[in-house]
Amino acid sequence: MALVISFLAAAVVAGTPLLFATLGEVITERAGNLNLGVEGMMLMGAVAGFSVGLSTKSVILALLAAMAAGAAGALIFAFLTITLRANNVVSGLTLTIFGSGVSTMFGKELVGKVTPDNVKAFFAPVAVTGLSKIPFIGEVFFKQDPFVYLGYVLAILLGIYLYNTKAGLNLRAVGENPAAADAASINITLYKYIHVLLGGALCGLGGAYLSLVYVPAWQENVTAGRGWIAIALVIFSTWSPYKAIFGSYLFGGLDIIGFRLQGTSIHVSQYVFDMLPYLVTIIVLVVVSARKNKKNAPPQGLGVPYFREER
């Protein structure tokens, strides 16, 4: 039992960067923009958060830097796809290449550096009074680091925002049918920009969690494809912030299972287990697409540039 609890608790930790990135992409896609630059924005956030954390030793500044870096990446994407109506897919891919270049370049001198002790201490696990006493659930979910708690809160807040507020309703309208939203005098461009940038900031945070807390040292290409898994998780969670929680932790578990099984009686190469998250992503996509229904369809206007003149 103790083994199961420790595995699940570790899965939550491994799933947290995925959760941030998935939430970021959920609101980006809800605004009708398919940003495939998640990996790039995560890497930019990872390097910015780590280098600012290292030089200032300030948690707040590090997180702000990570968000700003992710949002800066998203800004390039937003300008290209929203203002200049460029192709979403290619713009996003280019952003990933750009972000990985930026993080490698500025991370060159950070290789081997370790997160400062005070930042580490800030992100040490803390038990939540009361909740952590719940058997099993408390052990798994409420003896975690503050970043993990931030993930819970964000997912729930975004869910409320999306489904229970006027702005959230407008956002969904923008993603589903921009022409109709425009006719209802919703400022399409503004909505798109705000949510794409916010999405980028969340991806940046996810990256910073990896470099500052999860590793916690600078490693080249620290995301290792997690940004792409996050994009698949958006489909898996059918664009719902609530379901993103479950999906992220499930994939967090897949991410660590190979490592965890080493030294047990199960003898399968770790490299074979390392394929699991990618393999399961494919299976999930295939299953979701095979049992297609209206409820889990993507926003109708996803990836289609909106131009009033062509309405």
Partner: protein, 357 residues
């Protein structure tokens, strides 16, 4: 007041002008990046050129880097023509290299020409089959191919990692995790000092050009890319077209992988694709999916990579600078397309504002 209106016709002089300006702006923007590193952008660009074309040796290196880029770009282009986002060039290269290597290890004493031909076939099958998997799901259930092809990259990489650390590990490498080198007869011979891959690449440019522009299947692929409904009305078998196009697309990437394994690394390794599959996407897009343009852009990008490696030695700028420069160029060209399609009109009378045409 001003607003953008669609250009009624796009003439090629204007569009070329806009694209050239975009590339210059990209160089300027990257120059600011270089300035941030407190270096002189002009001398850095100069060194890049020198590093790529400065002497025969460097020029050869540039061509060697361009070869896999040309073939892989041609491969992804066939998929892109169909609006099928094949981001899996990297994995298809790796699996092509894997199958070619399996052939090379299986028949170590076969006559060279025969073995090389078998290895190329292995490359086609490895890459082709790897891309058929996402193609099948796309055709059957419209499964998002972007992510499936991408995930397949990681699976291919992990597979070769597994081989390299496990069953295929060279026992003579003193515990170092590497796969044994090929026998000499599995290595592509040279012609004019550069391995035969360049001949294959040139041949592929011509073949793919003919395939896309002059054959029925190629035309069907283009029609399907424009509109699936049109394709259906025209009686095109959509699923069959997807499958065929993707087998060719992946097969080409697989050949590039075979060439890299055979001629460049002389073995299979996790580095065999080395990011070419991703760069190919940029090259393909910058070439507007045209085979002859791919040849030119590939050489330019290879120069960028080779020059990037050179400035790493001279200025200590990390290799990643080349990635940033590539991305910058594509950002600007992507953005410039807007100005190719639309033009800025200054409105003289505000009164017209109310009545939108």
């Amino acid at each position: 007041m001003f607003r953008f209106v669609k250009r009624s016709e796009v003439n090629s002089r204007t569009s070329t002008k806009i694209r050239v300006i975009a590339i210059l702006l990209a160089l300027l923007a990257s120059g600011i990046f270089i300035l941030l590193l407190s270096l002189n952008p002009l001398s850095v660009y100069g060194s890049m050129l020198k590093g790529a074309f400065g002497d025969p040796y460097k020029f050869k290196q540039t061509i060697i880097k361009a070869i896999p880029l040309v073939i892989t770009s041609l491969g992804v282009t066939i998929a892109f023509k169909m609006q099928f986002w094949n981001i899996g060039g990297e994995g298809q290269m790796i699996m092509g290299a894997f199958c070619a290597s399996a052939v090379a290890f299986k028949f170590p004493s076969m006559p060279k020409p025969l073995l090389l031909i078998l290895m190329i076939i292995g490359g086609v099958i490895g890459g082709g089959v790897w891309s058929l998997i996402p193609a099948f799901f796309k055709a059957r259930w419209k499964t998002n191919e972007t992510i499936v092809t991408l995930m397949m990259n990681y699976i291919a990489l992990k597979w070769v990692t597994y081989l390299q650390y496990g069953p295929w590990k060279d026992p003579k490498a003193k515990g170092f995790p590497k796969i044994a080198n090929f026998e000499e007869n599995a290595v592509l011979p040279k012609l004019f000092g550069i391995h035969l891959g360049w001949v294959i690449a040139l041949a592929m440019v011509v073949l793919v050009y003919i395939f896309i522009n002059k054959t029925k299947k190629g035309y069907e692929i283009s029609v399907l890319g424009e509109s699936e409904n049109t394709a259906k009305y025209a009686g095109i078998n959509v699923n069959k077209t997807i499958i065929i196009a993707l087998f060719i697309s992946g097969g080409l990437c697989g050949v590039a992988g075979m060439i890299q394994a055979s001629a460049v690394s002389n073995t299979l390794s996790t580095e065999v694709a080395g990011g070419v599959g991703f760069t190919a996407i940029i090259v393909s897009w910058l070439s507007f999916l045209s085979a002859p343009a791919i040849l030119l852009v590939s050489i330019l990008f290879a120069a960028l990579l080779q020059g990037g490696a050179f400035i790493q030695i001279v200025y200590g700028i990390p290799n990643a600078a080349a990635l940033i420069l590539q991305a910058m160029i594509l950002f600007f060209v992507l953005g410039s397309e807007f100005f190719v399609r639309y033009k800025l009109v200054v409105k003289k009378e505000l009164a017209v504002e109310g009545g939108r045409a």
